[in-house]
Subunit: 246 residues, 2 copies
């Protein structure tokens, strides 16, 4: 499984991803799922991937190839992030068309989903897209400032309760890690290292990119503090007065 | 959708269920999903249901009919809760066999899942089972003292972080409500009223059974306090020191 999320606020963009991939429970391995295609000074382009690994790797490969061969359309030539989402969606369609029939013969799911976040010179603010297997896509908005792919449910309650378009970037990074930690706690097929990128709006280059490995002191401390805080909050909550309902 | 959960600890049993049912997003209605078949003094028998409503209602009807007609095997004649799970599983198989073919013709999912919790005179402790569409079942254990059915993921992190077999019953009831509240916050197809039952081990009759309706003051206060506590915990958590990872 996989869990990736992107958060776009007034102040910039945070993207994060776990690195665990499993083909059944007896073949678990580590694959990077957060990719940086930025051209500092001109554009920030970040991609996260989930779903069928052979498809997402193929899509990433053709994106890289287009860049290397300086095709007319590539990740560094698009004028807006919307155009970039359209271009990546088209590459997704091309790979799905090549592969899907062969996989379906053996009942193998070819589905995959990408997150695309960034900002291109001339754009007023960063933006964030989710690109589906079908090549279509949706965009995060000020009302719903985050998008998730993969194993999304365990980590959603914390996002629903803390995030808004006004959230500070350092806080968005904290929430992203807490959301991934909640997911890792409840689903063993999501696991470290965690890749985390922070981009401040209008800088056109990434401020921070880190990889938090298994046993990372901050991750351990975060989980410990969070559990203590949850238990404290829980203990302070009044119990139900059953007699009220008689 | 539906969300029900059962928690069994050294001190007894808590079972809880929402009451929202939807056939698509344009047909939402309220159905009870927690049923009390206890015979006070002799046994506590609680059932929660999720999945295809026509199937779960049929299973409940034949269980009631067996009771009314005093069939040799019924919910009040079984010797152990394990036997009760086996009996309910057989009724599930009978109904699935009658209905499934007709539903499958139109691609309708006949799946459903039940929780069975309680204790029968002569048993050393309460127990909790999850009965599948296929009629087989699993049992909660001291290591994993809770079982969930329906929309289970949003409400699982809070259970994973707070529950153990030693948890006090009043706390288990609080966690059950928080788990349902987290689910309602993230999935609009799970909703009030919430049915909640508390059973103290070895009493052979239920101590508390309440129905918390939409706008219930305790539910509102719980959500508010929990959000304040989560935000407080979140703000106190140190931010990531990005420079450490350079």
């Amino acid at each position: 499984m996989t869990y990736c999320l992107g958060i776009v606020t007034r102040h910039g963009l945070v993207m994060a991803a776990d690195s665990r991939t499993n083909a059944g429970v007896d073949y678990i391995s580590t694959y990077q799922k957060l990719f940086n295609f930025s051209a500092p000074g001109d554009r920030v382009i970040l991609l996260c991937s989930s779903g069928n690994l052979s498809i997402t790797q193929s899509v990433l490969n053709v994106l890289e190839q287009d860049l290397r061969q300086r095709e007319a359309e590539n990740l560094h030539s698009t004028a807006t992030l919307y155009d970039t989402a359209r271009y990546v969606g088209n590459k997704m369609r091309q790979i799905q068309q090549q592969e899907r029939g062969w996989l379906e013969k053996d009942g193998i799911d070819s589905k995959c989903t990408l997150l695309l976040g960034g900002q291109i010179q001339g754009e007023a603010s960063p933006s964030l897209f989710m690109i589906y297997s079908q090549g279509n896509f949706i965009q995060a908005t000020t009302e719903t400032p985050f998008l998730q792919i993969g194993e999304t449910k365990y980590g959603k309650p914390i996002l629903d309760r803390t995030l808004s378009y006004e959230t500070a970037l350092a806080d968005a990074a904290k929430v992203a890690l807490l959301s991934i930690d909640s997911t890792m706690k409840s689903n063993i097929s999501v696991g470290p290292p965690i890749d985390l990128v922070l981009y401040e709006a209008n800088r056109l280059s990434i401020q921070h990119q880190v990889r938090l490995r298994s046993g990372d002191p901050y991750l351990l401390k975060m989980r410990q503090l969070w559990e203590i805080a949850l238990r404290g909050a829980f203990e302070q909550m009044p119990s139900l007065d059953w007699d009220r309902y008689k």
